[in-house]
């Protein structure tokens, strides 16, 4: 994985493959630490060995590298990766990365991650929130609302995707995530 945005896309793909129809992402960024929580209503995980590369649910190959790679990317910066089943079904995954650490991966274009997810999996509802302070959550992206406005052929148009991308990128700047000028670490 080139950057953290790729990792997030990979986790979203896990959720989709687990049959999720709703995926919620909460992002926060403060004091150089990037925190991300992804919850879905998929079929959940079995056991705690998901971060073991030799445990996977797929049949095409016998290794699963997505989660172990993310675990290492997070832990090598002094962060963490936690994954658990939710009571009502589904999975909750949290990770934290210290972006100021020398071993931190480049951040990447996280707005693009969600635009790609919106295009790839039209039947899944992705919502993104920013966490400011302890409790306050700010909704910045809801694929269901977007899909109510634009249909499948409209979303293929670059103009449409660029517009959604730009407005999402604008929202992410609120917590200091800026693809063009880098994540602010000051």
């Amino acid at each position: 994985m080139k950057d953290i945005a790729d990792h997030i896309f990979d986790i979203l793909e896990n959720s989709v493959r687990a049959g999720a129809t709703e995926v919620q992402v909460v992002l926060s960024f403060n004091q150089k630490r990037f925190f991300c929580e992804i919850t879905d209503n998929g079929r959940g995980i079995t056991g705690n060995e998901v971060t073991d590369p030799f445990v996977t649910s797929r049949k095409e190959r016998r290794v699963g590298l997505g989660l172990p790679l993310l675990k290492r990317a997070a832990e090598s910066t002094g962060g963490f990766l936690k994954i658990s089943n939710l009571k009502g079904g589904g999975t909750c995954l949290e990770f934290e990365i210290n972006l100021a650490h020398i071993d931190a991966k480049p951040f990447g274009d996280i707005a693009k991650t969600f635009i790609d997810a919106l295009y790839c999996w039209p039947e899944v509802r992705f919502s993104v929130f920013l966490r400011e302070g302890k409790e306050r959550k700010l909704a910045i992206f809801d694929s269901k609302k977007i899909r109510e406005i634009v249909n499948n052929s409209e979303i293929k148009q670059k103009e449409v995707r660029d517009f959604i991308y730009n407005s999402l990128a604008q929202e992410l700047k609120k917590i200091g995530i800026d693809f063009q000028f880098g994540v602010s670490l000051s």
Partner: protein, 121 residues
């Protein structure tokens, strides 16, 4: 998102062009987007293809995604399904390769040997 109203305006703009060309999909391009594909840059390949399709004004081509196909070392991989023809699988398809495959194979039916991984079922 606050800009949903503005999004509606953009939609109206592109909709006018789209109305004329709704039809059946005759060509399907599948981009493998498992962990291996993502790590190899398949999202870029996918975006290149989606843009090329939009630019070509062809309504009979669709770009979709799948998971890992089991040949991770060949990623980014794409599968090309053209109606009445055998499916073709390409490996190591970066943006540049995607452009070439799109122009030669998708638009002109000519298989690009350089990136060919397999033919047929």
């Amino acid at each position: 998102m606050k800009n949903l109203e503005e999004l509606k305006e953009i939609r109206e703009k592109v909709r006018k062009d789209l109305e004329l060309r709704t039809g059946k999909h005759r060509i399907k391009i599948v981009v493998c987007l498992g962990t291996c594909g993502i790590a190899a840059g398949a999202r870029e390949t996918m975006n290149t293809l989606v843009d090329l399709v939009a630019q070509s004004n062809r309504s009979d081509i669709i770009v979709t995604t799948s998971g890992c196909a089991g040949f991770c070392e060949q990623e980014p991989m794409i599968q090309v399904y053209i109606e009445d023809k055998e499916p073709v699988v390409y490996g190591k398809v970066d943006s540049k390769a995607a452009k070439e495959i799109f122009e030669k194979h998708i638009l002109n039916g000519q298989i690009v040997e350089e990136y060919l991984f397999s033919k047929g079922k």
